[in-house]
Symmetry: D2
Subunit: 174 residues, 4 copies
């Protein structure tokens, strides 16, 4: 089925993650400092879309606490009230935990909630960040209400998704 007509409003909540790790030349470290989303979006042509960037936090997802996930849930609920799709940029290490948590706690969804990120930071020349965000923007238009991970040419609904470390991507569990 094609996407719907008329203005389409996407909220992009950034929480950090590998995708947004940046390199500090003074000490050679790779850390989450601030969001790279605005630079990334400049590379895309999305003439029929309005994108609102809502920075929630800037964390490696291995460091996320239950309180962090609760904050993300609240932010998603708020964004859902006034947007046609909600993207959550998230570290891949615990993306599944957050996806399952959102799936369990978001009732009667009226729009798709899409988690995405990257295996290689956007700052790198061989990053998958651009591909995954590109896919997520289109998926926001095409998917029915639900909670999903979109990455590497796949759109998978929660529950029942795992991170495959060997294949460095996401897959259905079981």
């Amino acid at each position: 089925m094609p996407d719907r007509e008329g203005p389409f409003h996407v909220a992009v909540l950034t929480t950090g993650g590998t995708i947004e790790k940046t390199y500090d030349e003074t000490d050679g470290s790779l850390r989450n400092v601030s969001s790279v989303l605005d630079a990334l979006l400049k590379e895309l042509r999305l003439p029929d879309l309005t994108v609102t960037h809502l920075p929630v936090m800037s964390k490696d997802s291995l460091d996320m606490t239950p309180e962090d996930r609760e904050r993300i849930l609240q932010a998603v609920r708020g964004a859902l009230a006034v947007h046609d799709a909600v993207l959550v940029i998230h570290g891949t290490d615990t993306l599944v935990e957050t996806g399952e948590f959102l799936h369990e706690n978001l009732m009667q969804l009226t729009a798709p909630v899409i988690l995405t990120g990257a295996m290689r930071p956007y700052e790198f020349r061989d990053t998958d960040a651009l591909q995954n965000v590109t896919e997520s923007m289109l998926a926001g238009r095409l998917l029915t209400p639900g909670v999903y991970v979109v990455m590497h040419g796949r759109a998978m609904a929660f529950p029942g998704v795992v991170k495959s470390r060997e294949r460095r991507t996401f897959a259905r569990s079981g």
Copy 2:
């Protein structure tokens, strides 16, 4: 709705177009010579997909004849028999003509047929080629059978699509 499980086979038919124009340093020309698809696909991570590249022709779409469109139709029919989605890389100038022609002549589709291309050739640093092919690959998994153009964050079903020269993108007509 999420994409289906199991192996997914995409056929990519290349016909030329702006996306594939390459620069000749000896005479400064920009022409369709050969396909850039394989170089472009190397930039994408599509671990759960098999892609078959079927070069059909290498033409600026302004130069396409009714015989060319008939050839494309035959190639699409053949690809549909053994693939889960068919992408057609096409010049944007007459993409709508080919889309309408395919829509009128393909009966009882079992898979989506997706036309895409680019406003700026893949050879350029600011190309939209990668974005559009990325979107088309995911769209191949998500769209129901039909004939579509996918570009710049939109997936629009034929009939009723136009190329908007001022906005340099595609839109619904009327």
Copy 3:
């Protein structure tokens, strides 16, 4: 010998050429419209240099007239009075003519005059523009007064330089 100490002032005169050809999506043309130098310089780290950009013209060098070359000569003379090195960005097709003309008409040089350009426009992903401008900036510090072409790892003094079309680079004649 190493480069000299203290502040170093480079003038970059842009005249157009292949290096600066940009793509017009509305009609698919590749033309000299405006200078790409400022975008290109943003990619370089030159902390001990001040660069002044002096746009002289925006022409394919095949279209240059004797009056154009006279204008370039006057601009170079003016820049030499207040800079430590002068770069001239020029189309490669008649770069040799301009180089010979400058060599014949610039007396008692106090700084190097370096002509450079590119075989592939800066707008392309596989451009040699960045390499050639990078080399020219360093060459401005290292070369003794004279008129040169710097490109593809070579710095050749006029007179006696030719464009090699088969090898798509410059070489010494005879």
Copy 4:
């Protein structure tokens, strides 16, 4: 002065350093694993040059020992016997130590020895690696025998060079 005529042979000794740090997606680390030189050289047009890549080691220069520097010295001596210029790719943190050591121990040089590296790894989109290696290749043709660091538009002879952490570049000391 212009560069000399005839075939020109450059040896590039790689020792690791920031320039060559690569990202491991399985554990998010940035480490010296192998050389990126061959990928980097593919981006340059050097038709009149032969480049021989001699991997010496793959170390962060903070981890270099006196034995490591002795190995580099031996490798440079060997390369000088059969090349017209020798480049040493080195981490920036202790590049000065190695430069001073080479300067003290290389007698009667017949060719320039050029140390270079990068403040930002080649794997990053905003790397200075390409600029610095490009400059070093041309400097190999233009500099008189001696030991130098070439980076960010500067060619500075040892002794008397320091790494400026605040300006994230090299400068003359005192």
